[in-house]
C-alpha cells in the first residue's frame, strides 16, 4: 500500500471514525483504525461491534493495500502534523505503517487488516431517502428523552417506525416520552426497530450539510441499521426488545390548555432551575385562566430549602380549569430547547397526570412528561 493525502483530510477522517473506536475491548484490533485503498480513495474504518463508521477521503493511491494501526496513536500524531502532504506506506514484512510528512518520518506497528471486522452496507434493498437537516432535527427533538441507564435497555434506544408514508421517532425514559412524526415518500419497506440513541446522536454529529441526502436501511435479519451520507457510512446494532406502546401513554383528553411564548417559558424555567436543583429539580406551574377582561397567567415558582426561592409570572392563553402542576425543570428545559416554534402549548388533566407539550403550528411533535408529586 502506497497512498498520499492531505493532513487536513486525514485528520478530519480520523475524527469522523474516532467515536466508533473501541476503548476497552478484549479484542485489541478494535482499538485500531483500518486504512485501505478503495477505488482511488483512502477508506478509514472503525468499529466497536456496536457502532461502526466508514469514511472516505480524497487521496492519491499509488499502490493498493490495507493495514490497521492503533487509532489513538495515529490520530494524535496526525493532529499535530503541519497542514501538508502525508505519505503512507505499508511495510508488509513487519506489518508497519510508515508515515512521512515533510521532514518527519514515523513507523507505527499495526495488525493485519484481514482480522478487522468488515463494515458493509448492503445494496440489495432500496434505502429510505431522507434529508440530513430534517433527520438531524428529528434526532435533536427525540433522542434526549431516551433513558441514560440500562435498567430497561430498550429505553436507551429511539423507536424508528416506518409506515407507508410516515417516519416516527419516539424515545422515553421512565418519566417522559418524545414523539416526532415526519411524512416521507418512496417507502419501499416498512419496519419498526429501536436504534441506540447514542448511534443517532453520533449520526447527528456527522451530518453537516442540511440538504445532503441520507439513506437509511435495516438489515434483513432486523439486527442492524445502516445510514449512508456522502462519503460516510454508519452502521449500528439495533436494541433488542419491544418498545412500550407509546400511543397508550399520550393522553387523549385534557382539562386545561395553555399557550405560551416558548422563549419566555424556557427563560423562566432556566431562571428557576438554580433554586429547583436543591429540591429534586421541582418547578411548580400555577396555571390561572383569564376572565372576560384579563389574560390568563402562569406563575412559575421554585424554592430551595437552603438558598431561597423565585417566582415569575408569564401571560398565557388558557382554556379550561385552573391547575397547579409540578415538573422536573431539567425535563422542561430539554423539551423547550428543541421546540422551534415561537409558541408552545401545554395540555394538562390534573396534577398527577402527564402533561403534553406541543409546538404551536409546528411539526408533529409531542413531549409527554410526567409531573412530580407535590408534597404536602
Amino acid at each position: 500500500m502506497r497512498i498520499s493525502c492531505m493532513q487536513e483530510s486525514l485528520a478530519r477522517g480520523l475524527a469522523t471514525v474516532s467515536r466508533a473506536v473501541a476503548t476497552h475491548s478484549s479484542l485489541p484490533i478494535l482499538s485500531n483504525v483500518l486504512l485501505a485503498s478503495d477505488k482511488g480513495r483512502l477508506k478509514l474504518s472503525a468499529t466497536n461491534l456496536e457502532l461502526g463508521i466508514n469514511c472516505w477521503i480524497g487521496a492519491q493511491v499509488e499502490q493498493d493495500g490495507q493495514i490497521t494501526v492503533p487509532a489513538r496513536i495515529l490520530a494524535d500524531l496526525v493532529n499535530s502534523l503541519p497542514p501538508e502532504r502525508v505519505d503512507l506506506q505499508l511495510v508488509v514484512r513487519t506489518n508497519t505503517l510508515n508515515l512521512k510528512c515533510g521532514r518527519l518520518e514515523a513507523n507505527i506497528k499495526g495488525l493485519d487488516a484481514q482480522e478487522f471486522p468488515l463494515i458493509i452496507i448492503p445494496d440489495d434493498e432500496k434505502p429510505l431517502l431522507l434529508k440530513a437537516g430534517m433527520l438531524a432535527q428529528m434526532i435533536d427533538q427525540v433522542a434526549f428523552a431516551a433513558a441514560q441507564d440500562d435498567n430497561r435497555p430498550v429505553l436507551t434506544g429511539v423507536l424508528a417506525d416506518l409506515s407507508a408514508d410516515t417516519l416516527t421517532f419516539a424515545a422515553a425514559d421512565g418519566y417522559r416520552l418524545s414523539v416526532r412524526k415526519e411524512p416521507v415518500e418512496g417507502v419501499a419497506w416498512q419496519s419498526s426497530v429501536v436504534i441506540p440513541a447514542k448511534a443517532l446522536q453520533e449520526l447527528r454529529r456527522l451530518s453537516a450539510d442540511a440538504d445532503a441526502p441520507v439513506s437509511m436501511l435495516i438489515s434483513r435479519n432486523r439486527n442492524q441499521v445502516f445510514f449512508h451520507l456522502d462519503e460516510i457510512d454508519l452502521v449500528s446494532q439495533l436494541v433488542e426488545g419491544s418498545f412500550p406502546d407509546y400511543n397508550a401513554i399520550v393522553p387523549t383528553s385534557y382539562n386545561t390548555k395553555t399557550t405560551l411564548l416558548t422563549a419566555d417559558l424556557l427563560s423562566a424555567i432556566r431562571m428557576a432551575y438554580p433554586f429547583a436543583r436543591d429540591a429534586s429539580n421541582m418547578v411548580r406551574l400555577q396555571i390561572v385562566p383569564g376572565g372576560a377582561e384579563a389574560v390568563g397567567k402562569v406563575v412559575i415558582t421554585a424554592s430551595s430549602p437552603d438558598h431561597g426561592d423565585i417566582v415569575s409570572e408569564l401571560e398565557a392563553t388558557i382554556e379550561g380549569t385552573p391547575v397547579e402542576i409540578a415538573f422536573n425543570a431539567r425535563y422542561l428545559i430539554d423539551i423547550l430547547s428543541v421546540v422551534n416554534t415561537p409558541q408552545v402549548t401545554l395540555t394538562t388533566r390534573d396534577p398527577s397526570s402527564p402533561g403534553v407539550f406541543r409546538p404551536d403550528n409546528g411539526p408533529a411533535l409531542e413531549h409527554v412528561v410526567m409531573p412530580m408529586h407535590i408534597g404536602r
Partner: protein
Amino acid sequence: MAMRWIIHVDLDAFFASVEELLDPTLKGKPVIVGGDPSGRGVVASCSYAARAYGVHSAMPMGQAIRLCPQGIIVHGHYRMYGHYSEQVMDILKQVTPLVEQVSIDEAFLDVTGCEKLWGPIEHIAHMIQERVNSEVNLPVSLGVAACKIVAKIACDYGKPHGLVIVPPGEEASFLAPLAIERLWGVGKVTGAHLRSLGITTIGKLADYPTLALERLLGSQAEPLQQLARGIDVSQVTTERERRSVSKEVTFSEDVRDYGRLARTLLSMSEQVASSMRAHALVGRTVRIKLRYPDFSTITRQAILENPTDQEQVVYQEALRLLKAQWKAGDAVRLLGVGMSNLLEQGGYQLNLFEHSDIRRSRLNDTLDAIRARWGDDAIQRASLLDYNARKGK
C-alpha cells in the same frame, strides 16, 4: 459570630416520670422502665430513686434487678411518651421557632434576640421550666449558654430540676473541673485513652498540647479541644432540616427467621415513611443496620433513582439490602432501617409507565389519615397482624 443564647432542655428521667404521672402510687419509688429481665432487655429509663441504687439507662435489666431488687419494673407506655413529648415540644415552639429536637426528651433552643419578647435570659429559662412543670407536670432541667455544647453540659450538670446559666466568657472555666467523659464525642474508648495520658478533666484536655493530642486522636484532636474550651459554632437546626429518619429494634431474643426479619423491616419501613410524610420530607438513600449477637454491626445503603416517602419503596430496597447481606441461619440481634439524603418540600417524579405509584401514594395518605384519627392499630397490613399483636403484648 454575634453573641448567641442557646438553651438545652432535657426532661428528667422522662419515661419514669411519665410512668409516675400515669400511676401516682409510683411517685418517689425506684421505677425502672425497660424490657423483660429474663430476656436481655435493657433499662430504657429509671427514676432518680432507682438511680440512687446505681441503676442507669442502657444497663441490662438483669443487672438492674440485682442492684435494686425492690425496683418496680414497668414495660413502658411508649405511645404516651410520644404524647407527652409533643406537649413539651409545643411549649418550646411557643418560645421560639428555632427548636432542634434531639430526641424524645431533649431539645436545643436558639433564643438569641428573644429577650425583647420575653425578657432577660434568666426569665426565659425560668418561664420554660415553670410551664413544663405546671402544664405537663413533668420535671425538666435546663442549661443556658452561648453555644450548644456548654448548654448541654450545663443542663446535665444541674440535673434533676436544674437550671444552670453559664455567662459568656465563663465557658472554659465552667467546663474545666468536669470529668472528661462529660464532653461530647468522648466515649468509653477515647475516655480511657485520655485518662491514660492523665487527662481526667475537660480543663486538662483544653490545656493539653495539640500536637501531642493529635498523635493520639488524629484529626479528632483539634475539634475536641475546641469543644473542651467551650467553643462550638454548630447551629440549632430545626426539624425541617433533619438529615435522616430511622427506626431500629433490638429483638428480645436473637432472630434467625427470615420471615420475622422481613416483617420487622416492613413494620419499620411503614414508620419511617409515615414519619417522612408527616414532615413533608422525601429521601433518596435507604439504609439498613444489622447487629449480630457478637455486637458486630454493619450498615448497608443504596441510593434510589428518585426520592420517595413511600414505605413500599423503602421496604423493597431495604429488603434487597437485607437479602444481599443476611445468610440463612444468621442470628440477628438488632435490625434497623433509615432514610437519609432528605429533601424537604418533597416532590418526587411520577412514573410514566407505572401509574401504580399515584394510587400507592393515595393509599398511604389515606392510611395516615385513618391512623391519625383512630390510632395506629386501626388499620394494618394483614402480613403484620401477628407481628403487631405480638409487639403490643
